[in-house]
Point group: C2
Chain length 197, copies 2
């Protein structure tokens, strides 16, 4: 049984990941939550995640995993990206939408990176889940963070009609969101990695 420490302030996140990873019987993983203040650096998302994982592994014994999420606007070369939380805090959902008022291109991608290492000094593995979509005016209140302004480019396969999705994350139930999200896509890659071990 491999025991991995997930750095998070939210214990539910650990059990959520454990259940997503653990429903394949061949996987024997336990994920325990540990709250640690990780320094958030400036830079590219991959760099930020790598440095957070390095820092975590120098403070925690054994395997650790961290996650980092960005919202990247194509018209802005990927920004606000890792700074999206800061923009949300300072300018709200309207402010996040307004960043694109000068641009016709409202396309964006939501991205979660999980960074994992067996321990201090071991290689760091990145698992990147990227979901394309577009930025729209805020709709729906089922989600959190910037969910209400992100409308993913997926097919509305719930109704088997093959039409494009027209809902934001904020208009989807958490179950629906969690079955298609950038975080889900990244976790699939984590799962693949541990299955192949």
């Amino acid at each position: 049984m491999l025991s991995i420490t997930l750095i998070t302030g939210n214990k539910n996140k650990a059990s959520e990941i454990e259940s997503i990873l653990g429903n394949d019987l061949s996987l024997a993983l336990s994920i325990k939550a540990h709250n640690l203040d990780l320094p958030e650096l400036q830079g590219e998302p991959e760099y930020i995640a790598t440095e957070k994982c390095k820092y975590a592994s120098s403070h925690i014994d054994g395997p650790v995993i961290i996650e980092d999420t960005s919202l990247c606007y194509n018209a802005l070369g990927g920004l606000p990206g890792p700074y999206v939380k800061c923009f949300l805090d300072k300018t709200g959902l309207n402010g996040l939408y307004n960043l694109l008022i000068g641009y016709e291109d409202k396309s964006a991608y939501a991205q979660t990176i999980f960074a994992y290492t067996e321990g201090k000094g071991f290689p760091i593995h990145l698992f990147i889940g990227k979901l394309n979509g577009k930025i729209v005016r805020s709709r729906g209140n089922l989600g959190f963070g910037w969910d209400a302004i992100f409308q993913p480019n997926i097919l509305d396969d719930d109704n088997n009609c093959n039409k494009p999705n027209i809902l934001t994350f904020g208009q989807m139930t958490p179950d629906k969101k969690n079955s298609i999200s950038h975080r889900y896509l990244a976790l699939q890659k984590v799962k693949e990695y541990f299955t192949q071990l």
Copy 2:
């Protein structure tokens, strides 16, 4: 003679500061440049500067000083702020201007923070120079970085006419800019501190 290490990749910056601080005969300071890769954290400008100074003092013996500059839009709650360089790199001067297309309020402030400590474990002193102005479409090529879109709110005292300045930093000679800039204002506070020691 107090010898202070300035963390910078640019040796000219050290002699520039030495000459600004040193033209008061009562000050006996030498500033030497040292190139050290400082981690840029996310957060408020004061926090970022403090952490950079802490990091520098743990890698350099003796007194160290670092500087950090932000461009803060009032309509965006102070953003892009410390991330301005990242926005400039990814979206250019037009991109930096476009962030405000959705807003009537184009006011902004340019801010340099010098963070100084006598050495590892000693208190960290912040010297903040803040210059109000507004964000305009790019004009002038005498400066660098985002100079061409920042028009400072000062009086045009060169002509003794008491009219408001209408030039961007990019339309001013470096000498003129350096005599009024946010960096100049911060350095005046540094100078005051060392004069009173």
